[in-house]
Amino acid sequence: MSSREHILAKIKAIPKEASPLPEIPSFESPLGHKAAFILSIQANKGEVITESELKDFIAINRFEKILNLTKGMESLSTQPLPSDAHELNELEVAIIQGQFGVAENGAIWLTDENMGLRVLPFITEHLVIVLNEKSLVSNMHEAYNKIGIQHSGFGLFIAGPSKTADIEQSLVIGAHGAKSLRVVLTNL
């Protein structure tokens, strides 16, 4: 008997009482999504900025390695998406389009089509996500309703920059991944 058969047979042999799978209510919050989303991003140590603030951020820091995958900010891009993910190691800024955001926790949903290469939002020094404020939803239940049966090889809820508190519980931003997250909210 293979291990698969062995494990499944063992589980099957255990007497079990039926236990119904509950339906999940939507728990929608009546509060304004935009204000709540901004507070959530800030609590996660990210920032919500305008497009002109993004341009200032790039100019002041004199970033030279910028990769843009959004429609509308092509002029900021200094390099195309490489074929090998390892070539992104020196990338300073990645600008990508988010599909929607979640007000209760600041999580932004991305899939393969937004990331180009899956490592992009992690390996870049600074991450910028452009998000339409009309896309905001209240909570994670609404978020998964919105995702529905969408099929992507890789999906990601990203809620802030890379962080750790593994040394004496002191919060440090920029553990392995992006050292900052900036969200540009648009209203189109």
């Binding site: 799978l21 209760e104 290469l117 090889g153 809620a159 890379s162 991944g177």
Partner: protein, 452 residues
Amino acid sequence: MSHPTKASEFLQDAAKAKWHDETLWFVRDKRDNISKTIPEWEELRELASQIKDNVLANLETYLVEFEKNAKANNIHVHWAKNAEEHNQIVLGILQNHQCKAIVKSKSILTEECHLNPFLENNGIEVVDTDLGERIVQFLNQPPSHIVLPAIHLKKRDISELFHEKLQTEKGNEDPTYLTHAARIHLREKFLGAKVAITGVNFGVAETGEFVVCTNEGNADMGVHLADVHIACMGIEKIIPRRKDLGIFLRLLARSATGQPITNYNSHFRSPAPGKEIHIVLVDNGRTEQLGREKFKNSLKCIRCGACMNTCPIYRRSGGYSYGSVVPGPIGSILSPGLDVKKYSTLPFASTLCGSCTDVCPVKINIHEQLYEWRQEITKAQGTNTKSISMKIANGIFAVPFAYKITGAMMRGALKILPDSITYSGLNIWGKQRDLPETPKETFKDWYKKNRK
């Protein structure tokens, strides 16, 4: 070694023990505060509990569905009866790819299977990439907490360690400085690894996808740069539907660290072009636990660590005092299922206050199971020191005359007995406890005098 013995070792550094206690309580407090911002919090716990009950009642169906969907997504699915088979499967995949060095993100299952020493004995370099796990790996220690692996260490310890291993400045204890040194060190490892191993937080039967949650982004840095991703998953990590993630992701990080969600929640459904994903489904004692009616609920655990942060014993005895991969209250009900003799003292490392049960996001009746394990263990072991004194006490309380005589004797004896006898090894309650001053007369005598 027993829990009390190891706990007294931990308590020798009183200042550190106090810091440990207070820091974990602070995390518990954060969990309380954030849970109160969600009006439906208790309803979420109830739903999570019901979903997990449904999973345990239909586990084989969901596993088969998960396997079918994962395979349709070009994921390789492996099954392992035990730790040894799990380790062999992982080694086999590494050998197929002629891989000699891997990066690994947090996986309590691979700790349980002792994968690191097994791979190292087979000539493979394993690098744990979670910062806390890298720190304890440098020290050849296991994690002392499932969410905060290095919570037993102070920044001075880590500064000294990094000075030796990563050539950081001597005496520089700044957490940001030390973290960024680790970032540079681990970035090289990420760029060089051909295979990356992760754990799994949730496997979704409906879609065949699995979800991995981190704050550091280390799991993703590893797998997206490597050619092969191996995900090791206990069979109880299955959930039925994608939308169930809405419940569990709302509960997990809030319960674990008091944050609304982990910063990275990655949903792996199929490999990127030219890459491979393998899932190893592991039993290793889980089906036995499922067959124990009183203890099967322990398999609902989502490994948030909230029961550790709240536990008065865990906070004051440290993760290592348990001597098990999963410490704390949940570890004390899981571990005896794996080896009841080895872990026989763990269910007694509790005050049965029930705080673990109160904070558990999937409503496991942890403190009741601790009590049940005590019954099983006492039955199996026969008497111990505490139970001998309990039996004597039982005899005394049952006979009024014996009670009267003993009371008078004890009042006399406690005054004249030297501490060496009252606090002897036979009286384990004497440790760190002072006896009360004995009253001059009994309540009975007082009542006779004053209420004539």
